[in-house]
């Protein structure tokens, strides 16, 4: 038995708890059956249910994307009508933003990992967590309803006055997104409270994993920005129901006001999407460099800086909307500022690699893909933030390429990194490393083939949201379409080997990557209550220079379910197994 100085004020009796390699009971074996899944309050199962739904939506959004790209194979009409095209790109955008990217990392992976990284048994409000999942489902039903009933053709931005006049099911989708917003708010509220109140002994703010810092910053944005989207969508709904006129120029209202409202949420929302990705990158990059993260505080605080500055730049979406010249200039300047904390992160990650012992496992490969693609996305964002350039580039494929580089090249690639990183922990199974590498290669090649040409044709004047184009752009569009097919194949391959791993995968050890993160000190898959003991933390999560034993400590008298606490250090392992 040992003692540990956790804070200056308390001395705790701790002993070593080595995670069992062969857990008898896990969260997957207890509480079985469909009903117990649907009514579970376990953050791990809720996380997986989110993961499943997000995957479904990703499939739907992805199929729409492939249809769009196929239509663009030829300059004139290829196989769908212009109206259909409008509906497809609208639904593609709305689904990918609201139903995939926003909930993907926080609600799916975050839900699973966050309490474990804090050494907690669950999030602060488990029932609220389940409620937020069902709210998500209800929001989804509304959107499906729109899909079968008339579609939606306003673009994911719902700009007035067209969204007031359009004959498509605007109300269903705005209400769907409105409801979805609540799910996002509840998750954010839950996470903030959990991070403040549920940390295991010894986890000070300076020892929080960077993933937690990132989720914390994200939650703050979710809580502060989402309600503004909620009220905006509600006003838009009322606009259609009662014609309240606030955004309707025909009644003396102001459509630019709608754009301000919308982007006041939706710019911060892009950070809701990317900041959790930053968290994953920090975790993966240290694990596979076996090295302390470079600039812990710089990375932690730059997330908060991004959250803050991100609220002040929304006007950069409206440079050409008739905003005053002064406002435009200020917004442009602030947009450049937001690049700074982002750059700080990238440089710190690269510095972490320096002299690390780098292991090129699949998650790490995705990190490199991320660094490459996200940097391009970020730099082109800065270009768009400069006024003169944006007048030319606004509403062209250049913007389309920019946001796909950040959203897909950034968020989605980070999600894939996290998924491959935590897959053994979540499922207890290893996937086929070789196939995973092929998958990553396909994604990388397919992605660049799809979106790099879009920068070029955008800067040459190809406008976005058109279903046909002039001959000059044919070669770019065709390259792009073929790239998108490669991407599709890549995703299918990933789905294939992950599914195979569930049934035939090798059993995952508790800590396959040798990470120092707390979540890896649970069994794979974890116990119903994550840990058998109350973990005690004395080192930071990236202290790779310290021995593994120091990361496996727990309160000495904390047998699970009030077990006999009189075990000594050697008995600890039996204790874990005998549960």
């Amino acid at each position: 038995m040992a003692t540990a100085e956790v804070s200056n004020t308390r001395t705790l009796k701790v002993k070593r708890f080595k995670p069992s390699e062969d857990p008898k009971k896990t969260y997957l074996t207890e509480e079985k059956g469909l009903w117990s899944w649907l009514t579970t309050v376990d953050h791990k199962k809720i996380g997986l249910m989110y993961l499943g739904s997000v995957t479904l939506f990703f499939l739907l959004g992805g199929v729409l994307a492939l249809l769009l790209r196929t239509e663009l194979l030829t300059p004139a009409k290829t196989f769908i009508e212009a109206d259909t095209y409008n509906q497809f790109f609208t639904l593609h955008g709305a689904i990918m933003v609201f139903f995939v990217l926003v909930p993907s990392i926080p609600a799916a992976l975050g839900n699973f990992i966050l309490p474990m990284q804090l050494g907690a048994k669950d999030v602060a409000f488990p029932r609220l967590n389940l409620a937020s999942f069902y709210i998500y489902v209800i929001g989804a039903i509304f959107t499906f309803f729109a899909l079968v009933n008339n579609g939606l053709d306003t673009g994911w931005t719902f700009y007035t006055p067209y969204s007031i006049e359009s004959n498509s099911s605007v109300i269903w989708v705005t209400l769907g997104a409105f409801i979805l917003g609540f799910s996002s708010i509840l998750t954010g509220t839950n996470f903030i409270t959990t991070i403040h109140k549920m940390r295991a002994p010894g986890i000070t703010w300076g020892k929080l994993p960077l993933n937690i810092w990132a989720l914390y910053a994200t939650s703050i944005i979710q809580v502060l920005a989402t309600p503004v989207l909620a009220i905006t969508l509600l006003l838009l709904t009322m606009e259609r129901v009662f014609g309240i006129g606030i955004f309707d120029p025909a009644m003396g209202g102001d459509p630019v006001l709608f754009q301000h409202f919308f982007w006041f949420y939706s710019h911060p929302a892009v950070y809701i999407m990317i900041v959790p990705g930053f968290g994953i990158i920090s975790e993966v990059i240290t694990t596979f460099s076996k090295k302390h993260i470079f600039g812990y505080w710089a990375i932690a605080l730059s997330s908060l800086a991004i959250a803050f500055i991100g609220f002040l730049v929304w006007g950069h979406h409206m440079f050409t909307s008739g905003q005053s010249a002064v406002a435009t200039t200020v917004f442009s300047f602030l947009t450049f500022l937001v690049g700074i904390p982002t750059g700080i992160k990238i440089l710190n990650w690269v510095a972490t690699l320096y002299k690390g012992s780098i292991e090129m496992k699949t998650p790490m490969i995705y990190v490199f893909i991320f660094l490459f693609l996200f940097s391009i996305g970020g730099f082109t964002g800065i270009m768009l933030g400069s006024l003169a350039a944006d007048i030319h580039l606004h509403d062209t494929y250049y913007v389309v390429a920019h946001f796909h580089y950040v959203m897909m090249g950034g968020t989605l690639i980070a999600l894939l990194a996290g998924l491959h990183f935590w897959w053994p922990k979540m499922t207890g199974k290893m996937y086929n490393e070789f196939q995973a590498k092929i998958g990553a290669a396909l994604i990388f090649i397919g992605f660049n083939m799809t979106f790099l040409p879009q920068f070029i044709m955008g800067s040459q004047g190809m406008p976005r949201r058109y279903y046909n184009y002039i001959d000059q752009f044919t070669i770019f569009h065709q390259t792009s379409t073929i790239g998108s097919y490669i991407l599709g194949v890549g995703f299918l391959l990933i789905a294939y080997y992950l599914l195979v791993s569930l049934f035939r995968g090798e059993k995952a050890p508790a800590n396959p990557w040798g990470s120092r993160g707390l979540e890896w000190q649970a069994t794979s898959p974890p116990d119903l209550h994550n840990f058998d003991h109350t973990p005690v933390i004395i080192n930071g999560p990236y202290d790779y220079h310290k021995p593994m034993e120091e990361f496996q400590l727990g309160l000495a008298d904390s047998g699970h379910n009030g077990h006999d606490p009189s075990h000594d250090a050697t008995g600890a392992k039996q204790e874990v197994v005998s549960n």
Partner: protein, 216 residues
Amino acid sequence: MANHSTSHPTHVQHHFVDSDQQFDSAKLGMWVFLVNEILFFGGLFCAYIVYRAWHPELFTQAATELNAFWGAVNTVVLIGSSLTVAMAIRSVQKNQIKGLKINLLITIALAVVFMVVKGFEYAHKFELGILPGELYTYEGIEHAQAAIFFSIYYMMTGIHALHVIIGIGLMWWIYVRANRGEFSSEYYTPVEITGLYWHLVDLIWIFLFPLLYLIE
């Protein structure tokens, strides 16, 4: 900081270490939720500010259609209910369950009074044809954007009224639970956080009243 689930009092959920942690978490969670409520209303206040800056004359003109007397009555009613809800929390802290129940009932009654007054105000306006947006038919105000003022009015007061109704439901639920003997000075988290919510509903009205009724 022990983690024994055996030593937990019944109201402590399994994932909390102790009662204090549960109470603190619930309270923090509620505060975060209130921040988010403020931003929700913030969007409406923002629309108000923008339109008032553009059409100051419209606002002073249209505000005369609102009945400042009944608005003031409602303000007093809501402030009173904030007081009684605070007294309800005080009672349960001192383990006076009867006081808790009485104060809750008074609060509910005051909230209902608020809704009734609001209902009469709305009914009167509907009769005059003062409806939101396109449905607006009133001719007493000569201003092109008059309908928009009332759209803002109805959105703000309507969403506020919705919050009052939810508040009534919450307090009724607390009352039922108090009747079942679930609360004591040991455990009154739901009472406290419902009280917090109610104070916010009150506070928002305190901003709405002068901004809508009392401008000249």
